[in-house]
């Protein structure tokens, strides 16, 4: 709970850090310090069960253990992101202190989403996350594609926010309360007002998590934005949207599970098929990752469909596995000028440690055992099987996972089995290499022992 305030204050501090420090390195260190403080505070709240500073929010915010573990995963991902991509944030815009400030404001919004128990808080949280993101997407001001991405993201984002607001209004009109608790007790029958509200909210959440058929903005925005921010959007922000989705449909609409689950199943199926099939045809790794993020969203949608213990546990594992892996690949991609698959040719020869880390990240995304991605997918499938009567969805998911191997392995083939065409080898900072390797080891550790996260809740 205190993370909301601290990250907002730290954001302001970051804004002024441009005056305080001349060197970008110090700004980066300050941001890392900020995330470490946030992790410490959140961990304290998790371990002791009490926030340092208790604020009465009239029950609109409540950070359960589930929410706190989620927040911790997000903060650790952010830490990895700051360490891996700190240099690239400085290259992306004129003054990196502003960009860091925006990221901290986003974290503040994330902390709100992690504990929302009222639709108002959900709305505010999601808006706090989204608005700085529009700016980040357009931070490469001289680049036309970045401008286009920002505008597209803004239009699509505000459109979906509008839908959500409409949905919230309709539901409020029926129930007379914004509190999720009120829904779970008050929801017996599905009145037309509730049904319309539910559908609108479902559509807008699908926008946010880029589930088909609301995914059209994703490839262009991800491709156009500076890579370093694409990586942030595709991992951390996507996880937040999914967390909001899950909490809302679990606490809020859980009672009507039977009524909406078929629609979610259809959306899931579309997302899986469109994401995976389109990713196969991409020649640019960045675009491939954009479609892969849609495909992975399809897998996470399985948890929304199932809403049971396995789904919730698996979702956290999925956030961790997917975020760590994608952050790692994007960090390497950002440092390469050429984003085509051929640019990865011969990377195993010139940069064995980087190639190994990317390899493990890709294997995790593909869901190969002994990586975090395997258990993440495993839990999603298990959650749906546990729900029963939806075997077709599970089989479809499994077939899509097989398709996904195809496009992830193209990068592996390029790195390991093909010779590099260019003479000049890519240069990487030694520290960067070791962080990448640590990230990969983290993925493996979670793949061997997922209980590390699962036992927390």
């Amino acid at each position: 709970m205190n993370a909301i305030i601290i990250s907002a204050v730290w954001g302001v501090l970051m804004m002024y850090s441009g005056f305080l420090f001349k060197s970008n390195r110090n700004i980066n260190l300050l941001s890392i310090l900020g995330v470490l403080i946030l992790i410490g505070v959140t961990f304290h709240e998790f371990a002791s069960g009490m926030p340092l500073l208790l604020i009465d929010t009239k029950g609109m915010l409540f950070h359960s253990n589930f929410g706190l573990v989620f927040l911790l995963i997000i903060l650790v991902s952010t830490l990895i992101y700051f360490i891996l991509s700190g240099k690239d944030i400085q290259l992306a815009g004129k003054s990196s202190s502003d960009l860091y400030a925006l990221i901290f404001f986003i974290l503040s919004g994330i902390a709100v989403v992690a504990g929302f128990r009222s639709l108002l808080m959900l709305f505010i949280g999601i808006e706090i996350v989204s608005i700085p993101l529009y700016v980040l997407a357009g931070s490469d001001k001289s680049n036309l594609k970045s401008n286009e991405a920002a505008l597209k993201y803004f239009l699509m984002g505000s459109f979906s926010t509008g839908l959500m607001l409409m949905g919230i209004a309709l539901i409020y009109g029926d129930v007379g309360s914004f509190y999720l608790d009120a829904f779970s007790t008050g929801f017996g029958v599905l009145t037309p007002l509730k049904a319309a509200g539910l559908l609108l909210i479902l559509a807008s959440m699908s926008f946010k998590v880029s589930a088909a058929p609301f995914h059209f903005w994703t490839p262009d925005v991800y491709d156009g934005s500076p890579s370093v921010f694409t990586s942030f959007m595709a991992t951390i922000v996507k996880s937040v949207a999914f967390f909001a989705f899950l909490t809302l449909f679990d606490f809020g609409f859980g009672k009507m599970h039977d009524q909406w689950k078929t629609i979610v199943a259809i959306i899931t199926a579309f997302t899986l098929i469109i994401g995976n099939i389109t990713a196969v045809f991409q020649q640019s790794v960045k675009r491939m990752l954009a479609y892969s993020s849609i495909a992975q969203a399809g897998f996470m949608m399985l948890a929304i469909f199932a809403i049971n213990t396995f789904a919730k546990q698996g979702m956290l594992l999925y956030f961790a596995g997917y975020s760590f892996a994608t952050l790692g690949i994007f960090a390497v991609l950002t440092k390469m000028k050429d984003h085509s698959i051929d640019a990865f040719n011969g990377l195993a020869k010139s940069q064995p440690i980087i190639a190994l880390s990317v390899l493990i990240s890709l294997l995790s995304l593909a869901g190969i055992p002994l990586t975090a991605g395997f258990f993440a997918k495993y839990y999603m499938l298990l959650a749906v099987i546990r729900e029963g009567n939806m075997m077709w969805l599970v089989i479809l998911a499994v077939l899509c996972a097989a398709v996904s191997v195809y496009y992830y392995f193209r990068v592996i083939q390029a790195m390991y089995f093909k010779a590099s065409a260019s003479e000049t080898a890519l240069e990487f900072d030694p520290n960067f290499k070791w962080v990448m390797l640590m990230n990969a080891i983290l993925i493996i550790v979670l793949g061997i022992h997922p209980d590390l996260i699962l036992n927390l809740i």
């Binding site: 190969i368 055992p369 495993y378 298990l382 089989i395 499994v398 997922p450």
Partner: protein, 488 residues
């Protein structure tokens, strides 16, 4: 969770795993080779020692279960019984031979080559030992990935395509298997992945039908059975020959093993319902593969197709559900591993010296390499299952079972034995006899190490051919689980 080494299964997993990881850190090719030999030899020794501890009172040495994922009820269960001991023994022999055979300077980055091979050994042994379905699945994939990299890095010209096809095929199969595993896990009320818990599940015939299909496709792709075999000739041809040895001697046995350990005990109703139809398809596949083998000019492809036929025969034997055929198939799994290992060694030695894999470009090797020719003839005779060789015992028992099951099927499948003689003897004739050409005349005979290796394999071939009883004793405790539900 899993660090103890006071029992055989844990040792068999740890030795190749440690050896494999260690190998990546050895920069010198020679020391990588010797370390690989040491680790595979110790695995072999552990297994040979374990042969003296098969009795009931040593159960703690042979069966272990470590806590792993307590939250979902998966434990790291490993078990050495007659079935798994035979397969683990075969694995240990094959890897040991491969490590001795491959010279340190043949492949670039030899340390990685040996390291990946040892990791593959770890995966394979794990597949054979696992009694927990999730562990089984993990090792199933773990065995595949090193082999994929081995073939794709050190393989032939079309390696990337060929090995990727292999990977995708097996991956789809294993995902289907994962689904079936998850389904059964859910049936246990999400408490256990153990083979025992699955065995005690009450599943309807309808459920068994689908579970059987999911499992069997995974295993059939691995074996491979007709018509899912199309990845195999290409993969065998494009992989470096030492890897092909591992693939065809041990990896394809994963499929057969899976049928014995998981499919037959767990889905009796489905097996009884579907076995006739599947056997007809397999029999067609056997004859088809044998016919194709006759027309192959590439040695590697010829051995690949011959392997499809032989593996098919073993699958056929298992599905008859007759005890004699199941025992025969079990024995034949071991025999086939030894015989095809020897065949690949010959192909490897010829290819390494001459660079030729085409049969029509070879000839007259017997003149320049008489010792190799002798071993080739012995191996070939074992491959066509001549009496007094090991394969005769196995295939005789298999055919005995098939004959009891259906006479016509036995007669039809029996064609493959005739064809097998045709292509094997043809290969000997064209490679070792006939006119020698400028390349083959300079061929130098095998060295002492290779003679020693061949001698060991030959002794095994004749030993099992004369006196298979020790193996039958070994199998005795493994058949109960496989066949109990069919005998009543």
């Amino acid at each position: 969770m899993f660090a103890a080494v006071d029992n055989f299964p844990a040792l068999l997993i740890w030795l190749p795993l440690i050896g494999g990881i260690l190998s990546f850190f050895l920069n010198d090719a020679k020391s990588a080779k010797s370390s690989a030999i040491i680790f595979s030899a110790s695995s072999l020794i552990v297994l040979l020692v374990s042969l003296n501890f098969t009795a009931k009172e040593f159960i703690a040495l042979n069966q272990v279960s470590y806590e792993w994922l307590t939250s979902i009820g998966s434990s790291f269960g490993l078990y050495l019984d007659g079935l798994t001991r035979t397969m683990a023994l075969l694995t240990a022999i094959v890897f040991f031979v491969v490590f001795i055979l491959v010279p340190a300077d043949q492949y670039k980055d030899a340390n990685r080559f040996y390291g990946l091979l040892l990791l593959a050994q770890c995966g394979l042994v794990g597949v054979f030992l696992a009694t927990d379905a999730l562990v089984f699945y993990l090792f199933w994939e773990l065995a595949l990935i090193p082999v994929y990299f081995l073939s794709s890095i050190w393989g032939g010209e079309k390696r990337i395509r060929a090995t990727f096809k292999f990977f995708i095929y097996t991956f789809i199969g294993s995902l289907l298997m994962l689904l079936a595993i998850l389904y059964m896990y859910n049936k246990t009320n999400a408490t256990s992945f153990g083979l025992g818990a699955f065995f005690n599940l009450k599943t309807t015939a309808d459920e068994q039908f689908w579970l059987f299909i999911a499992f069997f496709i995974a295993f059939a792709i691995k074996m491979p059975l007709f018509p899912l075999h199309t990845w195999q000739p290409e993969a065998y041809e494009q992989s470096p020959t030492p890897v092909t040895m591992v693939l065809s001697s041990v990896m394809v046995k994963m499929g057969l093993f899976g049928v014995l350990r998981w499919v037959m005990p767990l889905f009796p109703l489905a097996v009884k319902q579907l076995n006739t139809a599947i056997m007809v398809v397999i029999a067609i596949g056997i004859v088809y593969a044998s016919l194709v083998a006759i027309y192959q000019d590439n040695i590697k492809r010829l051995i690949a197709y011959s392997s499809i036929a032989h593996i098919g025969l073993m699958a056929l034997g298992m599905l008859t559900l007759k005890e004699v055929a199941v025992v025969g198939a079990l024995l034949q799994m071991f025999n086939h591993g030894i015989n095809i290992l020897a065949l690949w060694m010959i192909a490897y030695i010829i290819e390494k010296q001459t660079g030729i894999t085409s049969i029509s470009k070879l000839g007259g090797l017997a003149k320049s390499a008489p010792v190799l020719a002798i071993f080739m003839v012995i191996t070939a005779l074992a491959n066509v299952a001549l009496p007094l060789t090991n394969a005769f015992v196995g295939e005789f028992m298999i055919f005995n079972g098939i004959y009891q099951f259906n006479k016509f099927l036995a007669a039809f499948a029996g064609l493959s034995i005739i064809f097998s003689a045709v292509y094997t003897l043809n290969m000997i004739k064209n490679v070792f006899y006939g006119e020698a050409n400028s390349t083959t005349i300079q061929f130098s005979d095998i060295n002492k190490t290779q003679v020693l290796l061949f001698t060991v394999l030959t002794v095994l071939i004749f030993f099992v051919g004369f006196y298979p009883q020790p193996f039958f004793d070994l199998f005795s405790d493994a058949l109960g689980l496989v066949l109990t539900r069919y005998n009543s």
